[in-house]
């Protein structure tokens, strides 16, 4: 019997083990890196992937010849991708499935009929308002505005203005245009940030400068500058913030990012029309919390955000040059997913340059591999995005189901615990909310849930609590009275004892006196002393 059982057990075990092995293989086959996320304490913990690399597309795959150092990608309102193929001096337009070239722009017709070519185009933008292409034509020192047939409408060149230092060159890197037709240009060598042009192409000023990071050295310099002479001051190094690297426009807001290995303030900004940074005082951090340590170079690598993209649903994608990672945040800057790495495989990068999103896909341009990597959303990513969208729109209760689903798939996902806690709080399930806010390490939600819980508890148990209070106070009064009585009794007993002793003493004295009287002769002094003692 036992033997047969054993015989039966072995194949079952081996089957289960084999199954286990298989599943673990398929699970780890996805990415050439460990997917992680951050917990409340800023420590990296394993997580589920929100995006998975689908394929890497080169110029050959599209039938346009190899890309050479592509630097920008843009997805327009007509479902067409534009890639700024910098060293090939062309703009490549690709269809929305990203498998076929629609058009290659390398020659443009000027308004006077002559032809013009591009020279190292670094940035491309297509406006949804007027259907114009804006090309940052870097080495030609101009921004080319053209329609989609290649007819140049106008060009923006180095502004002649007192504000613009004429000694500086005009090397456009990125360009965008807002709804009103104002053009913003990121320049290579300007730290006062994006040059702004009105729809007529006239220079109107600079937009959205970064702040100087208040390091100890800069604060020290400030105090030194108070005391030294003007000549000396002019010769000293000035404190200048790093200029912005790239930007994206989303409705009325312009999001900028700054690639710097030293600066940590203003690496990502959300600017309104007046140029004020909405993220300025929100104490946000973008990229990895703990800088990556590279053992092969013995160097600590600070995150350097080199491109930013705002997805249609408002999520903020930022691209970290140092680690080759895409960090996705929701519109309130909560970290959703971390994707990508530095590697040779698909899904890994060498020199990331630009990032664009289309629906559930992410497109990352690598200027060294000369490819565009397409990432698609996983099922997990889909659920998280759905839940986040509902949550951020205030539909907490509707978001409850997707959040539970997220937790089923990844118990480490902190946002899900916050989502569930908020939803349960809204529903009035205070106890559940307390449980989940504790799991989310969110004392703010716990506080609210506890307040409701306490209120309910008091309402439900008021009679009982009142009874306990009354009984306790009654017992207290009773016991204290008893104790007092006992103490009084003890004191009384003591008093009586002393009284009796006194009586006894007096009797002894009388007896002694009697004996003295019998014997005769006893001096008065002695007697007096004894009398004093009794008193």
């Amino acid at each position: 019997m036992k033997k047969r059982f054993k015989k039966l057990l072995t194949p079952i075990f081996s089957f289960v083990l084999g199954l286990n092995f298989l599943t673990s293989l398929t699970a780890s086959a996805g990415e050439p890196y460990d997917v992680y996320n951050y917990d409340r304490w800023g420590e990296a913990i394993p997580s589920q992937a929100g995006y998975i690399a689908d394929r890497a597309v080169s110029g050959y795959d599209l039938g346009a010849g190899a890309f050479d150092n592509p630097n920008d990608i843009f997805y327009d309102h007509n479902d067409i991708f534009y890639i700024a193929d910098t060293n090939n001096n062309r703009i490549v337009a690709v269809n929305s499935d990203f498998d076929e070239v629609v058009e290659i722009y390398d020659r443009f017709k000027m308004p006077d009929g002559s032809e013009t070519t591009l020279k190292k185009p670094m940035g491309i933008f297509v406006s949804a308002e007027n259907d114009y292409m804006y090309i940052a034509d870097n080495e030609n020192s101009r921004v080319l505005i053209s329609d989609r047939d290649g007819n140049v409408i106008s060009e923006i060149t180095k502004p002649v203005s007192e504000v613009y230092d004429q000694k500086r060159t005009f090397l456009p890197q990125r360009v965008i245009a807002d709804k009103a037709g104002n053009v913003y240009v990121v320049l290579n060598n300007i730290t006062t940030d994006a040059a702004m042009f009105n729809p007529q192409g006239e220079f109107t000023g600079f937009y959205g400068a970064n702040r100087v990071q208040p390091t100890a050295e800069i604060i020290g310099n400030y105090f030194t500058n108070l005391f030294i002479s003007e000549e000396k001051k002019a010769r000293r190094a000035r404190n200048i913030p790093t200029g912005i690297t790239s930007f994206d426009i989303d409705g009325d807001f312009i999001f900028t990012c700054t690639q710097s290995s030293t600066q940590t303030t203003d690496t990502v900004k959300k600017l309104n029309a007046a140029g004020n940074n909405i993220f300025a005082n929100m104490d946000l951090s973008f990229g990895d919390y703990t800088p990556m340590y590279d053992t092969s170079q013995n160097k600590v690598l600070q995150p350097a955000i080199c491109d930013i993209d705002i997805a249609e649903d408002g999520n903020i994608n930022v691209l970290d040059f140092t680690t080759g990672r895409i960090f996705q945040y929701d519109e309130d800057c909560n970290l959703l997913f971390i994707t990508g790495t530095i590697a040779k495989q698909v899904g890994g990068f060498d020199h990331v340059a630009a990032l664009e999103s289309k629906g559930e896909n992410l497109y990352v341009v690598d200027s060294s591999k000369d490819t565009v990597t397409v990432f698609t959303e996983t099922d997990f990513g889909k659920i998280v995005h759905k839940a986040t969208r509902l949550h951020n729109d205030g539909y907490y209760e509707e978001a409850l189901e997707p959040w539970y689903e997220v937790l089923k798939r990844d118990g480490n996902y902190r946002r899900a615990y916050i989502g569930v806690a908020s939803a349960l709080l809204r529903k009035g399930d205070y106890e559940g909310s307390m449980k989940y806010s504790e799991l989310a390490d969110s004392s703010r939600i716990y506080n609210k849930a506890f307040e409701g819980y306490r209120m309910n508890y008091l309402k439900k148990n008021f009679g009982f609590i009142a009874l306990i209070v009354i009984v306790l106070s009654a017992v207290f009064v009773f016991v204290s009275k008893k104790l007092r009585k006992r103490r009084l009794a003890i004191e009384k007993a003591k008093q009586e004892e002393q009284d009796q002793l006194a009586i006894l003493d007096r009797q002894i004295r009388i007896l002694e006196e009697a004996s003295v009287f019998v014997r005769g002769g006893q001096n008065d002094n002695d007697e007096n002393e004894k009398e004093e003692k009794w008193i």
Partner: protein, 209 residues
Amino acid sequence: MMDLKPAEWVRHAVCHPVEGFEDMRWKKSGSVRTAFLIVFLLFVAQVANGRLYGFQFGVTYDKTFNIIPYIVQSIILFAAWVVGNWSVCTLLDGEGTMKNICIYSAYALVPYIVQVFVNLILSHILVRDEAVFIQAISIIGTGWTAILLFSAIKSVHQYSFGKTVFAIILTIVAMFIMLFLLVLFMSLVQQVYIFISTIYTEISYRIRV
């Protein structure tokens, strides 16, 4: 007059900030055992304060639990105070012995410990909007302990007001010096340890070859 048990002495000392310790000195009372018990309770209070506080007032980092900081915050701190005060006040004509300083200082800690425990319970009843009660209790408890500590030092050494202030400042300086020496000593020991372990490794490699 004043034939009190140790527990009653604690109550007397705590409830009479001006005269209590003088009375204790006059009656030569106070027990080391009670003092140690109070310091142990301080340790328990610190741990409880760190680990069991109401969740609505902040999140405890509960991935790891390290007992050393709590020991340093309570027992080591108290020991440093006693030793520092003793070494300063021996030079300043203080009359207190180490034992008495220890006892009196420990008795003075009682309001602080009570405050911690009361707040611990309140933190599970109140919400953030009502945190002012917790703050008030905390200020009262800590302030009371400060006054008692002052009074304790004043009576144990039979000092005047000004001299007590001076002695307390010097005690704090002495505590810092002790800390400094401790750190110095630790790093020295570490250096020696590294030196010896390096030599050991080197020799063990030679022997093997």
